[in-house]
């Protein structure tokens, strides 16, 4: 195992082409790989034209929500009457997701280039790259690359010789999942608690420091490079399923597969093939039980759904789940779904920012009920209670953290009810560690 794995023939290597090649980390190495060509192209263009190309490419946000990137950029004021900001969301914390970390570790200049292009498009002089505090190695690599980029004149007061200013700073997080939520991220940059903000105002009107701001995920920003290098049409053609989902996407696969890791495939690639073929399937004697395809915040799929699921925004919705951040968590038949769902609930209870009542109290209560079931003290009505609490935690809060806690609970009880009932009836032994 370990990283990087040998590329699988069914992968489409665009973003991850240089993963594993330490040479691509440096400025020179990146230029040799064809780096900074996209930025040159972009800087020669009118910002509105850059936005138009990205719009045409069909590129959608890779952080989870799948919002069209060009459209998001177009929400920024056309005239720069006050400072505009770009925030790069590198707070990768969604359980199951570890793709942005690899992008930063192997191709830091790709991210710098992507940020600079976006900055040009939205007319932002300053970009903050918000990296989660635990990512010590990516932070060090990114910082070294930034220093190089300033030295080489990519960034600074005369960026790429255009006499324009492009600045980029790393802002290190300090342990808070919720800072991956875009408004919480802005608060965190401002030196505040990472509390999500109520919207409106939207970031494009009033974002970080009260100024027009765009927040993009790491993978989204590096995906802009092939769009500019190869053209919108070329990018748009990268689509195996629904034409509204274009390009390639990194899928982080973890859990009970033989070969976990990051796999880059074209949008619409079958999830079953990714798990069973590219990742080598389950360990000996084991069978696939369940899969969470888009990071822990999306509904769980059972085996049949997993095998029927196409990995694009629409294909996931068709199976009752979401593409999310592309963090694929695989469970084989040895997995205790009740216990693992409790662990997810614990995660959300731990990470709740404490603002909204439903989330603050609901996530913690959910954990208590699940722990009680696992102790063998649960009652059948606890399952209905869990579903009812989940209903109260869905669609009623500032951000979707409590919705994310509810998603695996609701789908878990629906699809694996027998495992919950086994703890309640005593058919399954209580979990000793919790008693």
């Amino acid at each position: 195992m370990g990283y990087p794995h040998e590329p699988h023939p069914k992968e489409t290597l665009i973003l991850s082409k240089h993963f594993g090649d330490a040479g691509a980390r440096s400025y020179d190495g990146w230029v040799k790989c064809g780096g900074y060509q996209a930025l040159k192209r972009a800087l020669a263009m009118d910002p509105a034209d850059v936005i138009e190309i990205v719009k045409e490419s069909g590129l959608r946000g890779r952080g989870g929500a799948g919002f069209p990137t060009g459209l998001k950029w177009s929400f920024m004021p056309k005239e720069r009457r006050k400072p505009h900001y770009l925030c790069c969301n590198a707070d990768e914390s969604e359980p199951g997701t570890f793709k942005d970390r690899e992008i930063m570790r192997w191709t830091p200049h790709a991210l710098i280039e992507g940020c600079a292009i976006a900055q040009h498009a939205i007319q932002a002089e300053v970009c903050y790259i918000y990296i989660r505090g635990e990512f010590t190695e990516p932070i060090a690599i990114m910082q070294a690359a930034l220093d190089e980029a300033y030295r080489e004149g990519v960034l600074g007061g005369n960026a790429m010789g255009t006499n324009r200013r492009i600045d980029m700073y790393i802002h290190r997080g300090a342990g808070a999942y919720i800072c991956g939520e875009e408004t919480a991220l802005m608060n965190s940059i401002e030196g505040r608690r990472g509390n999500p903000r109520i919207r409106p105002p939207f970031p494009a009107q009033q974002g970080v420091f009260g100024m027009p701001t765009t927040i993009n995920n790491v993978e989204t920003l590096v995906s802009v490079l092939p769009v500019l290098n190869e053209g919108a049409e070329w990018y748009k053609d990268l689509s195996l399923g629904n034409p509204k989902s274009t390009g390639t996407k990194l899928f982080s696969v973890c859990g009970h597969v033989r070969k976990p890791g990051n796999y880059e495939v074209t949008m619409g690639f079958p999830l079953g093939e990714l798990v069973n073929d590219l990742c080598g399937g389950m360990r000996d004697g084991r069978t696939l039980k369940a899969c969470i395809p888009g990071g822990s915040s999306v509904p769980i799929l059972n085996r049949e759904e997993t095998e029927a699921c196409l990995l694009d925004y629409e294909g996931c919705v068709e199976q009752g789940t979401m593409l999310g951040s592309g963090g694929v968590i695989v469970f084989d038949d040895s997995a205790d779904m009740v216990y693992q769902i409790m662990r997810l609930a614990r995660f959300y209870a731990h990470e709740s920012c404490a603002q909204c009542t439903q989330c603050r109290e609901g996530t913690a209560w959910t954990v208590r009920i699940l722990e009680r079931i696992l102790r063998g003290e649960g009652e059948m009505k606890d399952l209905d209670l869990l579903l009812d609490l989940s209903e109260q935690m869905t669609g009623k809060t500032i951000c979707v953290l409590s919705d994310s806690c509810a998603a695996p609970i609701v789908s878990g009880i629906k699809k694996f009810r027998d495992e919950f009932e086994a703890y309640i009836t005593g058919a399954k032994q209580p979990v000793a560690a919790l008693t």
């Binding site: 808070a176 608690r193 109520i198 209870a349 731990h350 990470e351 709740s352 920012c353 404490a354 603002q355 909204c356 009542t357 439903q358 603050r360 109290e361 609901g362 996530t363 913690a364 209560w365 208590r368 009920i369 009680r372 003290e377 209670l385 609490l389 109260q392 669609g395 009623k396 809060t397 500032i398």
Partner: protein, 528 residues
């Protein structure tokens, strides 16, 4: 007049209402007579949007919306009682209660608690939280000033944090930790020392931030309440005087957007014990055979009238800037042509502003009616007046405590009529002592520093035979043959308003609960 395009029409709970653009649905709902339950929202604070209690159904909107944050729109149809909204609020209430100690029997807030009220209105009859789960527990903390924090009752609405940060501009409170471990925190080196920090107790919708002064003093439902005006300084903050068994036990701010919005300072809030003093004069006294002897009102007023009639030369009125306009005015009438009036006011260095509210501060002049006294012809020449007492034919003391006056100074005057609530040493030389009520025991008006005439209403009964100063002076005028009996403070005020130019156009009834500004009529005339 508002331009038509700045007003929108929407429907809230089936009632069509008009509201200015930019107003929130929660505020507009009040116009439709609907109070949408809420915790974190407060009209005096920035919108936090965190408690999620004010969720309402808005037609053609996929999700429930928080009424505190969404602006009104033309044609909007809001249903606060839609099944989904009611269910969502029931959910919030259930979540708020799971860790709540349910200690209402020993909670000061009981009876005026928004958690109690909304659970009563919309909550579930039974909890679904297993009794085997431990509830969150944190010990009571002293936040300094007058404030205790009972974290177990806290619902994390953050009103207190918002107030200290955005209104008091002294962010010494925070939300600490996160998730269900969160609580309102303070740094060990800091305290709630701000002059306005007591407002967090009023703002707290539950019994989490409580007043040490009021701790376990009364149940909210036993209190009688009367609208008043704070006497702590010349700002004239509108207050509610709350009494238990005829004793003032608490002052709280009363909303007046023109004066104090929703707030009052701690100095004014805690300055009420003097209203309950026990050493009161309970009967009129007159000097007989060298001693002061209790008599009935008729006898005392006769003696007072004799003094006024029998003396020639100046009649000096030593008045308090805490006396009502009505009393101050009638005293000038009693003295007539021979009136010389002086008052004294405690002045301290500096003001204590509330930064988030323009023109609101604990003022350096520590009396409520300096402006009124000045308008009515009194001057702040108290010490000079006292020094010159030798030339006075008579002195009428109106509620002035005589703290700075020596026994000898008054003894020089041939005749002293003393009207007061207590009998300080220098007043014992008086020929007549007339017991009056204090500000909590009478109706009347003050004029604040900005010229706003404001009414205060009686909150408790005075002791024994004590009567409002306006009544006493009115009767004295009758005794002098210069007036008709006055039945109410209102009649006294109308007499004043008819006689003093500055009060032109102001009527007692017109003052309502929010007051009116002096000179408004004159200004209107000038522009007409």
């Amino acid at each position: 007049m508002t331009e038509r395009q700045d007003v929108v029409t929407l429907t809230i709970d089936g009632v069509e209402v008009s509201a200015p653009k930019g107003m929130t649905v929660l505020e507009a709902a009040k116009r439709a007579g609907v109070v949408i339950p809420h915790y974190c929202y407060h009209p005096g604070l920035p919108v936090a949007g965190v408690c999620r209690m004010c969720l309402v159904h808005v037609e053609n909107t996929p999700k429930l919306q928080i009424a505190c944050a969404i602006p009104v729109a033309d044609g909007m149809v809001v249903n606060p009682y839609h099944d989904e909204a009611v269910e969502a609020r029931r959910g919030v209430l259930e979540f708020l209660l799971i860790n709540h100690p349910l200690d209402c029997p020993i909670c000061d807030q009981a009876g005026e608690c928004e958690l109690q009220n909304y659970v009563f209105r919309e909550g579930r009859a039974r909890t679904r939280y297993s009794p085997t789960y431990a509830k969150r527990f944190n010990p009571v903390e002293d936040f300094g000033g007058d404030i205790l924090y009972v974290p177990n009752r806290c619902i994390l609405c953050t009103r207190c944090v918002q107030f200290m940060e955005h209104v008091a501009d002294d962010p010494v409170l925070n939300v600490s930790d996160r998730g269900d471990r969160a609580f309102i925190g303070i740094h060990p080196g800091e305290q709630l020392e701000h002059a306005w920090s007591g407002n967090v107790v009023d703002l707290c919708p539950v019994g989490s931030l409580i007043s040490k002064d009021f701790l376990h003093k009364a149940r909210a439902w036993e209190l009688d309440k009367a609208p008043g005006v704070c006497t702590g300084c010349s700002q004239g903050c509108n207050v509610v005087l709350e009494t238990l068994h005829n004793t003032v036990v608490r002052l709280r701010p009363r909303t007046n957007l023109e004066v104090n919005r929703f707030f009052m300072c701690d100095h004014g809030r805690l300055d009420y014990r003097w209203l309950n003093r026990g050493d009161r004069i309970e009967a009129p006294l007159v000097r007989q055979d060298g001693d002061l002897a209790a008599v009935d009102w008729h006898h005392a007023l006769e003696r007072a009238a004799d003094i006024v009639k029998g003396s020639g030369g100046p009649i000096v009125v030593l008045a308090s800037a805490r006396a009502s306009n009505e009393a101050l005015f009638l005293a000038t009438r009693v003295a007539g042509e021979r009136f010389v009036g002086a008052f004294r006011v405690e002045r301290v260095d500096g003001e204590e502003p509330l930064p988030g509210v323009p023109n609101l501060a604990l003022r350096s002049e520590r009396a409520p009616n300096v402006r009124g006294a000045t308008e009515l012809g009194y001057t702040e020449t108290f010490d000079a007046a006292v020094t010159a007492l030798a030339d006075a034919a008579a002195v009428i003391v109106v509620d002035e405590p005589l703290d700075t006056v020596s026994n000898a100074a008054l003894a020089k005057v041939p005749s002293v009529i003393y009207m007061g609530t207590t009998l300080p040493e220098p007043a014992r030389v008086a020929q007549v002592v007339l017991p009056i009520t204090n500000v909590a025991e009478e109706d009347g008006t003050f004029v604040n520093r900005d010229g706003r005439v404001q009414r205060y209403l009686q909150a408790k009964t005075g002791p024994g035979m004590a009567r409002p100063a306006w009544w006493v002076l009115g009767e004295l005028l009758v005794e002098l043959g210069r007036g008709e009996p006055l039945a109410t403070a209102g009649e006294a005020f109308e007499m004043l308003a008819g006689a003093v130019r500055a009060f032109d156009g102001i009527s007692y009834d017109g003052l309502g609960y929010l007051g009116a500004v002096l000179g408004t009529a004159a200004k209107a005339e000038a522009t007409a």
